[in-house]
Amino acid sequence: MAQEKKKGGVLPPDGGWGWMIVAGCFVVTVCTRAVTRCISIFFVEFQMHFARDYSGTAWIHSLVDCTTMLCAPLGSLIGNRLSCRVAVILGGFLSSIGLVLSSFATSLEYLYLTLGVLTGLGFALCYTPAIAMVGLYFCERKALAYGIAMSGSGIGTFILAPVVQLLIEHYSWRGALLILGGFVSNLCVCGALIRPIILKEEEACPLPVDSECEYGVKPPMVNGVPSGKAVGDKLEIDAKQRCLRSMQEYNFLLIPDFLVLAGSFLLLASGCSLPFVYLVPYALDVGVSHQHAAFLMSILGVIDIIGNITFGWLTDRRCLKKYRNICYMFAVGMEGLCCLFIPLLRTFALLVPFSVLYGYFDGAYVALIPVVTSDVVGTTYLSSALGVVYFLHAVPYLVSPPIGGWLVDTTGTYTATFFLSGFALISSSLLLFSVAVIRRCQRNQKNSLRKDPKWVSCEDKQVDYYTSKKKDLMIIIPATS
């Protein structure tokens, strides 16, 4: 059996069962992100029933979002240790129990616990492993696969919002939460769909590191990161090796590229949530009617979905694949630029193009986050890296809307808030860009003799990645002849 494992690794299928994984990840995104957004529909009912005001009920949404993001590393840890499948099934179980329990709520604090903590924890256990698995199954069409998978949050919100409203009308919020709990248990089906896969690259070339840098990351001592390892094998591993493995699981944290990426994600998360929260109040402030303001948000949501899928498809084209990092920086930078122009847009007709552009680039960068992360750390550490990436999103998501609100209160206009958002997004993009430029200059200085006409620093990794695949193929064929 062990021998089989060593030689049995495969290349990313880029199709076949991979599309089932994409479908599973799509449903995971629907059940986690879309359900989180639809929870705010329950607030009016909670306010009536428990006689509390808006701020008391708004905590539920913040708790769910916060717990989902903060516990993302836990999700990836369980995915690595046990199996992505077990993690997703466990997460589905927990979140549906959380929702079912909250349908029996007798007080708002009870809801904080069941809906906020338990359901949020369940979502966290599902989200990261599912996204990581898509990265393992795809290589050539990774961006498209991620685009389709991540579009679940937009499409899910679009469909679930009226459905939840209908459920509340027919069954009141208790019945609606119960049925939503049943719906969320479909996460277990997604977990069942996720078949573990061991990739060839884990043994041959675990980490496409930058060859110019002095450090390298050693492959883990035990047989690859056991994203699909049978539970029984772990009985042989003693505590010391386990400890060693956990340190090596997080070795990617030391890569400078990842540190730069992490910094840019922190800035990104600080800026990206503000326009979603403050677009409608700003539109109402400048005189747009309620229906038009709601329509702006719908446009944002729908174009988000389009941006997800089309940008994913675009960056999979061979001509753009090498420039994927630049496409990501471009999307984030354009988003920031759009935000800077908001104070000039004071009518509905002017805000519609803003919604379209912002929605498109928002969808674009969301689809590319896992792609860019996997390009930097490789598929071995993708699960753990994604856990850290979403963890970094948590605190800015929580902190920046209140800061934006404080800015609105002190300055009296929304200009400062949108400027903050725009500058955070642009600086996130500039950080990546400047590091890439520095790398290129360093490389040009070092290798003036080597023929490297193209943009080397970021795509170099991808070139390594693809050549390693070819090398594997070469290793296999002579062995069979």
Binding site: V10, P13, G18, M48, Y171, G175, V189, T480
Partner: protein, 301 residues
């Protein structure tokens, strides 16, 4: 001497003046006036007035910008579409304006739509006199469950004397008495809003609940419908979905197990051949489902 006489006369005069100026309580009730300005001809204007207590009200219609500026117009009043007898008046033009006024004593039976109509220029101004109407009525019933509690609320802009809640049984309505049933009902009244909490719901609690804002002139009512369900109702779709999930998961695991024995039949030496075939297939970028079985041979637990 003359000054003393003057002083007495003055005192008497002042006394007389005082009695004359003191208003007797029965005379001259407070009259509220409401006026509406209508510009041009062929206009229909509607004005809503909230009447809280019986009062005398003077309704005035001011007309301006009438073309040709005729020297006089005839106007009359109607109540709820029916003409009021002896209300026809000739209105002379004063400073480019035509003013038609009438005073009405409004009691509960007198509430309705009062219109001043000018025949020649087809202009009409309607005053809608009514108790304040409770808005934001839910057209869908409020749903709750047996054993649970529910809160029904009514709100108004004006503050009534008090609020009352009734439960409607077919055609009659019974007042909800909190002191008689303290375990089942709680009423909260805070100025212009009221909340009725019904505890320990049973199926019989379903029906129409009427909140009544008591004003001096007439109560203003609105109804809310309550539907009490048993827990079985939402449980049915929930169990259906959970069954579907269990069936799907079982199917998927079974399918994977069925494909697994094919894995074990392949000897170790053929592994590399299989992986080579697989890599060739992936190179061709084919994603037909028929290639699944070939790939799944290599996917391990």
């Amino acid at each position: 001497m003359a000054s003393f006489r003057h002083l007495i006369l003055l005192l008497l005069y002042c006394d007389g003046m005082k009695t004359e100026t003191t208003p007797s309580p029965q005379s001259d009730p407070v009259i509220t006036t409401r006026k509406v300005v209508s510009k041009g001809q062929n206009q229909v204007t509607i004005e809503e007035l909230a009447i809280l207590k019986p009062q005398t009200i003077e309704l005035s219609c001011y007309l301006t910008d009438i073309p040709n500026n005729p020297p006089y117009l005839t106007g009359y009043w109607t109540k709820d579409g029916k003409g009021i007898v002896n209300s026809e008046e000739t209105v002379n033009r004063t400073n480019e304006q035509y003013i038609l006024k009438k005073t009405f004593d409004i009691l509960a039976k007198d509430l309705g739509n009062y219109s001043c109509i000018f025949k020649e220029i087809q202009t009409q101004v309607t005053f809608v006199l009514d108790v304040p109407v409770i808005k934001d009525k839910r057209d869908k019933p409020i749903v709750s469950y047996t054993g649970d509690s529910v809160v029904l609320a009514c709100k108004l802009k004006q503050t009534p004397n008090t609020w009352n809640w009734y439960k409607a049984n077919n055609t009659e309505k019974g007042l909800i008495n909190v002191t008689a049933n303290p375990l089942n009902y709680k009423i909260f009244i805070h100025g212009n809003e009221t909340k009725l909490t019904v505890l320990n719901l049973t199926e019989e609690d379903s029906g129409k609940y009427i909140c009544s804002a008591e004003f001096d002139i007439k109560p203003s009512e609105s109804y809310i419908e309550l539907k009490v369900l048993s827990y079985i109702e939402p449980l049915k779709p929930f169990i259906a979905i959970v069954l579907e999930v269990i069936v799907l998961v079982t199917l998927i695991f079974l399918w994977e197990k069925c494909n697994k024995p094919q894995n074990d039949n392949i000897s170790a030496g053929e592994n590399e051949l299989c992986s080579e075939q697989i890599s060739k297939l992936t190179r061709d970028d084919s994603n037909g489902v028929e290639n699944n079985t070939a790939r799944q041979r290599k996917l391990e637990h």
